[in-house]
């Protein structure tokens, strides 16, 4: 694929790509900018290659996700133990408009799937491709993530109402 075609794709998804990079970096804006810069270089220098143009958004999200994991590992900011386990229950009251903090309460895989489906309007098949898991595993993360997020939203709403 020619360089100008790649640039066109990157420009088209630039906003979504930045938001996804920010979400993959634990909402750290500076790190997200660095990750995006590294991704664009990887793509334009041909280190990351797009095979099917129809899957360009999934492919870009996948490159961003893996680059973010690498950068977080370099900065020792990754939390490997949380990948498959739920965070310990915290009973402190969260602001119900602090969406980032609420979503950060989810285990990482569930968070990624929920963000991709509800925020970026992706299908479970696309999520499975990005996470490099089977569609069944993606569905499991999706169901668990939805259940957990619903509980968190309701808990925060209840705590806010009781506090008033």
């Amino acid at each position: 694929m020619k360089r100008n075609e790649l640039e066109h794709i990157l420009k088209e998804y630039h906003r979504d790509a930045y938001l996804w990079a920010r979400q993959c970096c634990g909402f750290d804006e500076d790190l997200a900018k660095d990750v995006l810069q590294i991704c664009y270089l990887k793509i334009l220098e041909g280190k990351a290659r797009l095979q099917e143009i129809e899957k360009s958004k999934s492919w870009l999200f996948s490159v961003i996700r893996f680059t973010a994991i690498d950068e977080l590992r370099k900065n020792n900011k990754n939390q490997p133990l949380l990948e498959e386990f739920d965070r310990q229950e915290t009973y402190e009251e969260l602001d119900s408009t602090d969406y980032q903090e609420i979503i950060s309460q989810l285990p990482i895989r569930q968070r990624e799937v929920i963000l991709m489906v509800f925020y970026h309007q992706m299908t479970l098949e696309q999520c499975a491709n990005i996470l490099e898991v089977s569609i069944g595993t993606a569905r499991t993360h999706y169901d668990r993530g939805k259940k957990k997020l619903r509980e968190l939203i309701l808990k925060n709403q209840t705590l806010e109402q009781n506090g008033k």
Binding site: E7, L10, K11, H14, R15, Y18, L19, R22, E29, K33, L36, Q37, Y40, L44, E45, T97, Y99, Q100, I102, I103, I114, F118, Y119, K146, L149, R150, I153, L154
Partner: protein, 105 residues
């Protein structure tokens, strides 16, 4: 579906909040800077040609150092012998030292 509605509302509000985020500009300049700049090799080639032209013209002419000394013994007026010394850069006339032996008297 009612449960999904709760989550959809949550993300709808989250997106509204994210509209105020400052999105960095697409790094066009950096991407273009990577392309090959043909002015660099053209400049180097032009400098070399110019250098050869200037230096080639002013190359000093080196005078050859006399390396050969020819000493001949000449007879003047059939009686008096006299040495004749001559310097040259090359030996264009060479005579064997024993050539005189071949002379018939």
């Amino acid at each position: 579906m009612e449960n999904d509605e709760l989550i959809r509302d949550f993300f709808s509000e989250m997106k509204k909040q994210d509209r105020h985020l400052e999105i960095p500009e697409f790094p066009e300049e950096k991407a273009k800077a990577k392309s090959f700049n043909w002015w660099i090799p053209i400049g180097i080639a032009a400098s070399l040609v110019f250098g050869f032209l200037i230096l080639g013209k002013n190359e000093p002419q080196v005078e050859p150092v006399p390396e050969v000394l020819i000493i001949t013994l000449e007879q003047i007026n059939g009686q008096e012998l006299q040495f004749h010394i001559e310097e040259t850069t090359e030996m264009d006339i060479w005579e064997s030292p024993t050539a005189s032996l071949l002379t018939e008297f």
